[in-house]
């Protein structure tokens, strides 16, 4: 019942079951510093809240909200996460950052197929794991985004246990040119599919929350057929 309410709140068309978000064009320059300044993001559709589809997860279900904007050169993503213990250990590019407090976006720029999509995962240290995903199964990490901008702002202390943090926010600017091997940049009316995810904590049964429910039986985000829709508008 809560899940249904969440879907309704997102205006998701029930026949499809996946959420839909209108990505507006940015009307002001965005400084990628991790701080979600209202003037930069005022043109965006209201932020959507991530779902917790898996009952097996323990610990506090801390909220995450995300917004997107676009222009001719970039897709912009902003995450705002409540987090009372901000933690991240991974420091090497393309190492498994999803084991930390991490935000992700999976983007399918060719929704007529669901085999291949681009993935960007960034932990709260700003360390990136980017890859092409094949069949939800093979993570081709030798793929490298060019010109990706990452900004993280931590409201609290990183990796300090025993105190109480408030949260973190993240901004990404992803150049469209990175997807040229599959599709040109969007124009008004283009629909790409995507999922946005957040991993919270490093302990067993840590939380995965998602924009679109992957409908998998275990906490796992890779289900390209169940991505939500990003509709590019003015």
């Amino acid at each position: 019942m809560t899940k249904l309410a969440a879907l309704l709140a997102l205006n998701a068309p029930l026949f499809y079951g996946a959420p839909r978000y209108e990505v507006h064009r940015a009307t002001a320059p965005i400084t990628i510093d991790g701080k979600i300044d209202p003037p930069e993001w005022s043109a965006a559709s209201p932020a959507f809240e991530f779902l917790f589809p898996w009952d097996s997860q323990t610990g506090e279900k801390q909220k995450t909200h995300a917004r997107l904007l676009w222009d001719d050169n970039y897709l912009y993503v902003a995450y705002e996460a409540e987090d009372n213990d901000v933690t991240a250990q991974v420091q090497g590019r393309d190492d498994f950052v999803y084991r930390d407090d991490t935000a992700e976006i999976f983007l399918n720029v060719k929704p007529s197929q669901t085999r291949l999509y681009y993935c960007v995962e960034v932990n709260v240290r700003g360390v990136v794991m980017d890859y092409v995903c094949i069949d939800g199964q093979y993570y081709m990490r030798r793929f490298d985004l060019e010109g990706l901008q990452v900004g993280v702002h931590i409201d609290g202390t990183l990796n300090m246990r025993g105190d109480r943090d408030r949260g973190w926010s993240m901004e990404l600017a992803i150049p469209w040119k990175n997807f040229a091997d599959m599709a040109p940049p969007p124009h008004i009316g283009t629909v790409f599919t995507a999922n946005l995810n957040r991993w919270d904590g490093t302990e067993p049964h840590r939380r995965l929350s998602v924009w679109a429910d992957s409908k998998l039986n275990w906490p796992h985000p890779h289900a390209p057929a169940n991505f939500g829709e990003l509709v590019f508008v003015k």
Binding site: R115, D135, Y138, M140, R142, F143, D181, M182
Partner: protein, 181 residues
């Protein structure tokens, strides 16, 4: 000397069994200097690559690297296509190298080719003599890990070779690389 002709004219392939090449373990160190004159290469059979002018490739392996040695009689580039197994996916990794020892990697999956794909730690050297050139390449195994972590003695991958800009053949026409001790 073992000589295999891979990928004859398309018509000749109809009932042909897959070509098969035994990749032997390098018995002694290989210096990547463009000349495959180290003693270890004497154990490696030559594959003839169908091309407008004679081209051959040899392979060896050890714990850290897959080694390739090319001999080319014209100045075109060489395209290496390697399909690690298992998995049962059609993805393969490519590396185009030219006589100036520039290497460009790619990932191919079905009809899509991803060019922002960078292999790490590849050692590559060429030796040019007129139009002809030779190349030695050492590719660290970990570049294939995201497709398959199984390599070395007992594993079988598939591969193919091309010259210049010729379109690659379908995956089911790749030859087999059988890794042996």
């Amino acid at each position: 000397m073992q000589r295999l002709a891979w990928l004859l004219a398309a018509g000749a392939l109809v009932a042909a069994p897959p070509q098969r090449y035994e990749v032997k373990r390098a018995a002694s160190p290989i210096q990547i200097d463009g000349k495959a004159d180290e003693p270890a290469w004497e154990a490696a059979g030559k594959i003839e690559v169908p091309a407008p002018s004679p081209t051959t490739v040899r392979l060896l392996w050890d714990d850290n690297f897959l080694y390739l040695a090319f001999e080319c009689e014209d100045s075109d580039s060489v395209v290496i296509q390697i399909h690690p197994k298992p998995p049962q996916t059609d993805a393969y990794i490519g590396l185009e190298i030219d006589r100036r020892a520039t290497g460009r990697a790619f990932l191919r999956v079905g009809e899509y080719v991803f060019r922002q794909f960078h292999l790490q730690g590849v050692r590559l050297s060429t030796y040019v003599e007129g139009h002809a050139w030779t190349a030695e390449v050492a590719i660290p195994w970990n570049n294939f890990d995201d497709l398959s972590r199984q390599h070395g003695a007992g594993s079988t991958w598939t591969a193919n070779w091309g010259r210049g800009s010729a379109a690659p053949p379908p995956l089911d026409q790749f030859g087999e690389l059988v890794f042996v001790k």
